[in-house]
Amino acid sequence: MKKTAIKLVKITNSQGRTKEISSKDLLSIQTSKSIMNYAGTFDIIVDNTGGKNSKLCEPKDEVEIWLGYKETEIGKVMGGFIDRVILEKSEESKETMRLQGRSYSSVLLDSKVSGKIHYAQGYSQVLRELLKETPLKPKGILDTEGKGTIVLRNVPLIDVVRQIAEEMVWTFEVDHDKVFHFKPVTPPKKSGITLTDKDIKSFRFVKESK
């Protein structure tokens, strides 16, 4: 039996008020995952007939996207902030509202930091200090050693985090609940999945000259 997908989008504004967009108003949801520490993206199209949803949200509001098949089995697939709200009207007089934005990692990309931090508990202390100014909550290895001072001059937060992660041979990610994880780099594990002729419908080889 064909399952019916359930879509749910929750929007929280700067005052902390949360509203939900009902499944019937959600015309399409597209997301791309965060890769190589760049933010994931989302693109949501909402039915806006008669301007009914026009005042639902503003740029910088927070978005949670939930997907699943049953009310009890739905899971959050992305959380982030709205960058653009586009109100559109097509030739067939269909009015839609488009919400485009990026995942919570965008906080790292959009923030710049300046100042001086003295640390006595290694780089993890520096990271904790830096994340205090953001909505992200740190989690992972929080005990490191080392004393020193770091001076930052209008540096994107992502560059500082990347640099610290590299010094410590750590990796980091921001999850759907605004939790910033940092942990040691581990070699990739085998997934145990083997694709056979039955699974591969088509393929394409691309050779490029160097």
Binding site: I35, M36, D110, K112, K116, G146, K147, G148, T149, I150, V151, L152, R153, N154, V155, D159, V160, Q163, E166, V169, T171, V185, P187, P188
Partner: protein, 367 residues
């Protein structure tokens, strides 16, 4: 600045600008630095400069009753005053506004106007901006003095929309001054340009690089070398001094007692340029931090991602150096090649799709 704008904006783009938009742009030109007039008790010139864009916007929007501008006009001109500082993010400015004036409604592009003003202001580096008398008598601080002296060596700035180049024409006495000023001016203008490039491109103006055209002239004045007392300087002052001496912007420094790690972005285009620059920057760091035992330098290549060390070209290269090696080089007991061979280079490589680590790299000095 108006002359810069006139030459910077190509004819076809100018033709598409409404008269009203040009009017607002000129208002921005006249008023963008008005915040410099507000100086609170005890504030230094540098502190005033740091906040003048905020104060300027405030003044334009809420005071200056004699300005015969509407609220919408004050809004746009205020945005120009605020966003002419390159530290502010232009993506926060509205792309398009419709403003009613008299009985007409005009489309105005505030973000585009802010980008134009920022670049024109950044390119305001020619000698006409400064005067020898001001440098001599005004009692300005060393940093401001350096900027004024730098401007006095610039004979003009050219804009070529066909080759997409901005050219700074320099007249200097010595090769050493040429390098100092080329580094300083190119680096500062490149940063200015990269902060507005996308906005300008969307509006039909495409500049992609900054070049310096140097004329050596024995009658030109030598750039001043201000004696400084390194021991009395804070880390922040040392970084500012490093920026002044190299023309590059050190964005981050980690001080761990015996060891310091400095990060900056290079604009060198070739391997030879980058290698010479690394030795020069290291030398200046050693002079500013004589008490350290180890200096580590990480440089991000922000321009042409092709080509510095062949097949294994890094976007980011890290160099490690010890004090005794540099002392040997400064005392001329070893030459540049010997010094180079003692430095340790690291570059980033992927261990898999996501994780990059640093590995030692062999990077011979270019002859």
């Amino acid at each position: 600045m108006i002359s810069n704008l006139d030459r910077m904006i190509p004819v076809d783009v100018k033709a598409e600008m409404e008269e009203y938009e040009v009017f607002l742009l000129l208002c921005g030109v006249w008023l963008h630095d008005i915040g410099m007039l507000v100086k609170r008790k005890g504030e230094s010139l540098a502190q005033v400069r740091d906040v003048h864009h905020k104060r300027g916007r405030q003044l334009i929007r809420t005071s200056l009753d004699k300005l015969d501008l509407t609220d919408d006009e004050r809004y746009v001109v205020g945005e120009m005053a605020y966003y002419h500082r390159k530290t502010e993010d232009l993506s926060n400015v509205k792309e398009i506004m419709e403003i009613q004036h008299d009985s007409i409604v005009s489309k105005v592009r505030p973000q585009f106007l802010c980008a134009l003003l920022r670049l024109a202001d950044g390119c305001e580096v020619a000698h006409s901006r400064s005067s020898r008398e001001l440098v001599e008598i005004a009692g300005i601080d060393d940093e401001a003095r350096f900027h004024h002296e730098a401007h006095l060596h610039v004979s003009g700035v050219g804009f070529d929309p066909i080759t997409h180049e901005i050219t700074v024409f320099l007249r200097v006495k010595k090769q050493e001054d040429a390098e100092l000023l080329t580094n300083f001016l190119r680096s500062s203008l490149e940063k200015e340009l990269s902060s507005v490039k996308e906005v300008l491109k969307r509006n039909g103006i495409d500049y992609s690089s900054v070049q310096c055209d140097v004329t050596l002239d024995q009658y030109a004045r030598e750039m001043p070398r201000v004696p400084i007392k390194v021991k009395e300087m804070s880390i922040e002052e040392k970084l500012a001094e490093l920026e002044r001496r190299t023309g590059y912007y050190p964005s981050m420094l980690i001080d761990e007692g015996r060891r310091i790690h400095v990060f900056y972005e290079t604009i060198s285009q070739t391997r030879k340029e980058l290698q010479n620059e690394i030795v020069a920057v290291l030398e200046k760091i050693w002079n500013l931090f004589p008490e350290k035992k180890i200096v580590i330098l990480t440089t991000n290549k922000i321009h042409d991602p092709r080509g510095t060390i062949g097949e294994s070209d890094p976007e980011i290269i890290t160099v490690g150096s010890k004090r005794e090696e540099f002392e040997g080089y400064q005392q001329e007991s070893i030459d540049k090649r010997e010094l180079w061979n003692k430095l340790v280079f690291f570059r980033k490589v992927s261990t898999d799709q996501f994780h990059k680590i640093r590995v030692k790299a062999n990077w011979p000095l270019v002859v």
